[in-house]
Amino acid sequence: MQDDKKNAAAYWSANLRLIAGSMFIWALVSYGFGILLRPLLSGISVGGTDLGFWFAQQGSILTFITLIFFYAWRMNRLDKKFGLEE
């Protein structure tokens, strides 16, 4: 029983670390590159405009998709590693 609890706690903190890392990238591409850091990226031009504009209208969405699939893949591996899969 005690081992089960420890195992579950370790699984949960691994999950939280994964979420924290993913959410950092999530915020970086949208709020960072797309909005707040856009002035800093204005020197990098992409097809008639700058990199920040591309992140705001395309790059952030593409990153979001990658993040979700990455998270799903890693979590499914974590489920198995901790023996908690269905």
Partner: protein, 601 residues
């Protein structure tokens, strides 16, 4: 065959398809009615979620808004997609593990309180009802444009179709019709976009064409667009916004609102496993992104197309900027305007007034004071052409000279977008009433058959109410989206998140948090938009100078969510601790193991 007949054929054909699917997938048990039996494949669920999510506003209005405001509207693109990252990591898998039928079900059980459940039902109904009004009016507009009926008749037709497949099919019928509706709407959206991209940039993929080279002038497309816009006094398409804070908060509000909207969350209850809920969120975003990555391309290309229709010479290569005076002086004669302008003039959505009596069309920003001198030098006496933002997507096939069946397809697509969202919202409302109010609160002894009947009756009642509100919109169609997102983001999302991520959060904290989040958000929105959207009762003018710290009422959902968290944790620290069995419940929600057993209750 006339355009009307073609439209009838496409729209009628799509209706036959939806009703056929609904008959095949009709619900036989409450589990099928609420969560489609919990056996939907994650990819099919992703498609259904995408159709559920993409409303008439996404399909018809979004590209128009982006075209009009450029970079500033990126908040819609990031906000309405970024919410799925939150859903996939913070909500969907755990709520699927919990394995019940509705969102208030989770809040009621997790916070071991009838008050929390009722509070969640209230928030859910407020958010969903305000949202469904927009869908009904959107369907009415699409019908009236393409089927040449009045928009009232259009709303009645929409209500009848939704009634047929939602009341009988429940979630099972809705899920599979939404899959079909997604296919219809995405084909309708992308075909004209591909052709326009080919015409303007020789690149068949709009999302690449947008950052490619404008074929006629040889300049990058966005650079060309910005150049012409600035010469006409319009705002620079790619320019930064005045307030970063407001844009960040607006984007965040749309994200947490997306994650908190109940009709999207319940879609993740329909997949077989927790792992499927994670994959399914990814697939949903892939299907949504097909439209959302195309929308900004459609926006910039349609805007450039509109400008070069009025000023044909502006499409050519311009080496010397001074020559723009002459180029823009040679705008087209009103008499020579293209056929699609004439069609849309008939609907009143394009208007022309020859203010300087030169027979030509002048299209520029006459509200830009800095530009007034230049305009006068050119002999212009004011902007002569007004174009409604909403027509961009609908008029796209005509602007690109595409065959008339594409117009029929757009008609069916616009209607599919409105119907699929309306059906999802109506299901969320009816499940909250029949399951959370009747079964879990008023009459726990109700039989399964009785609950099904109650669900169908509340669905029918919700459709009647939505129809009535669609016919008599309370004059705030544009603002309701802000309200729905504000409520969902400030009340439902924080409650769900704390329920999963904090074992210590107790009933009183959660209820106080929801009340505070909901209350502050309503107060802030009503202060600027009027109490219950009666404009005359607004207490402050809705302009940036009067907003608190420059935060627009549209952006307040994120602030409401922060207030919700703060109040909940404060109250929680003064009140009795969470009982052990609830802490165990949270523990079990966090682990995927044993989810199969949980649903067969």
């Amino acid at each position: 065959m006339s355009q009307f007949m073609i439209n009838m054929l496409f729209v009628g054909g799509s209706f036959v398809l939806y009703i056929g699917i609904a008959y095949w997938a009709r619900a036989g048990s409450t589990k099928e009615f609420y969560v489609a039996g919990g056996g939907v494949h994650p990819i099919a669920n992703g498609m259904a979620t995408a159709a559920d999510w993409m409303s008439a506003a996404s399909f018809i209005s979004m590209a128009g808004i982006i075209a009009a405001t450029g970079y500033a509207s990126s908040a819609y693109l990031m906000g309405w997609t970024g919410g799925y990252v939150i859903l996939a990591m913070l909500l969907a898998p755990y709520l699927r593990k919990f394995g019940k039928f509705t969102v208030p079900d989770f809040i009621g059980e997790r916070f071991y309180s009838r008050g929390a459940r009722l509070m969640a039902v209230l928030c859910l109904i407020l958010a969903s009802v305000t949202y469904v009004i927009g869908q009904m009016t959107g369907a009415g507009v699409a019908f009236s444009r393409f089927l040449e009926v009045s928009s009232e008749a259009g709303i009645w037709i929409a209500a009848a179709i939704v009634f047929l497949y939602a009341v009988f099919g429940g979630m099972k019928g809705i899920t599979y019709t939404q899959v079909a509706q997604y296919v219809v709407l995405i084909i309708a959206y992308t075909i004209p976009a591909v052709f326009i991209s080919l015409q303007l940039t020789n690149n068949p993929i709009p999302m690449f064409g947008m950052f490619g080279t404008h074929a006629e002038s040889g300049a990058p497309l966005l650079q060309k667009l910005t150049e012409v816009l600035v010469e006409l006094g319009f705002r620079d398409y790619t320019a930064d916004v005045p307030s970063h804070l407001n844009m960040v908060l607006f984007t965040l509000s749309l994200m947490v609102g997306t994650a908190g909207l109940p009709h999207v969350i319940i879609r993740f209850f329909t997949v077989p496993k927790v792992a499927d809920a994670r994959w399914s969120a990814g697939w949903a975003l892939v299907f949504i992104a097909l439209l959302y990555l195309t929308a900004p391309a459609v926006a910039s290309m349609a805007r450039l197309n509109l400008l070069t229709t009025v000023y044909p010479e502006a499409a050519k290569e311009v080496v010397n900027m001074d020559s723009y005076d002459q180029i823009l002086g040679n705008s087209i004669q009103y008499a020579d305007r293209p056929e699609w302008v004439k069609t849309w003039e008939g609907t009143g959505l394009i208007k022309f007034e020859d203010k300087n009596n030169d027979g030509q069309i002048q299209f520029y920003d006459d509200t830009n004071k800095a530009f007034a001198v230049d305009a006068e030098k050119r002999g212009w006496a004011g902007n002569e052409l007004t174009v409604n933002n909403d027509i961009l997507v609908l008029a796209n096939p005509e602007i690109a000279n595409l065959p008339s069946w594409v117009i029929g397809l757009i008609a069916a697509g616009g209607i599919a977008a409105a119907l699929s969202t309306a059906a999802g919202l109506l299901l969320a409302i009816s499940a909250a009433i029949s399951h959370d109010l009747i079964k879990k609160t008023i009459n726990p002894n109700i039989s399964e058959k009785g609950e099904m009947l109650a669900a169908r009756i509340s669905m029918a009642a919700a459709i009647v109410m939505a129809t009535w509100l669609g016919l008599n919109p309370p004059g705030f169609a544009a603002q309701v989206v802000a309200l729905a997102f504000g409520i969902a983001g400030a009340s439902i999302f924080p409650a769900l998140m704390m329920g999963i991520f904090s074992k210590k959060m107790n009933d009183k904290g959660a209820i106080a948090g929801m009340m505070a989040g909901l209350g502050c958000t309503l107060l802030y929105i009503f202060t600027y938009l009027g109490w219950f959207f009666v404009a005359s009762t607004a207490m402050l003018p809705n302009t940036p100078e009067h907003w608190v710290m420059g935060v627009s009422p549209l952006s307040f959902g994120a602030v409401g969510a922060v207030i919700n968290f703060a109040v909940a944790y404060t109250v929680c620290s003064f009140t009795a601790e969470t009982p052990q069995y609830i802490q165990d419940l949270v523990e079990s929600v966090r682990s995927p193991k044993g989810a199969g057993a949980a649903i067969d209750h």
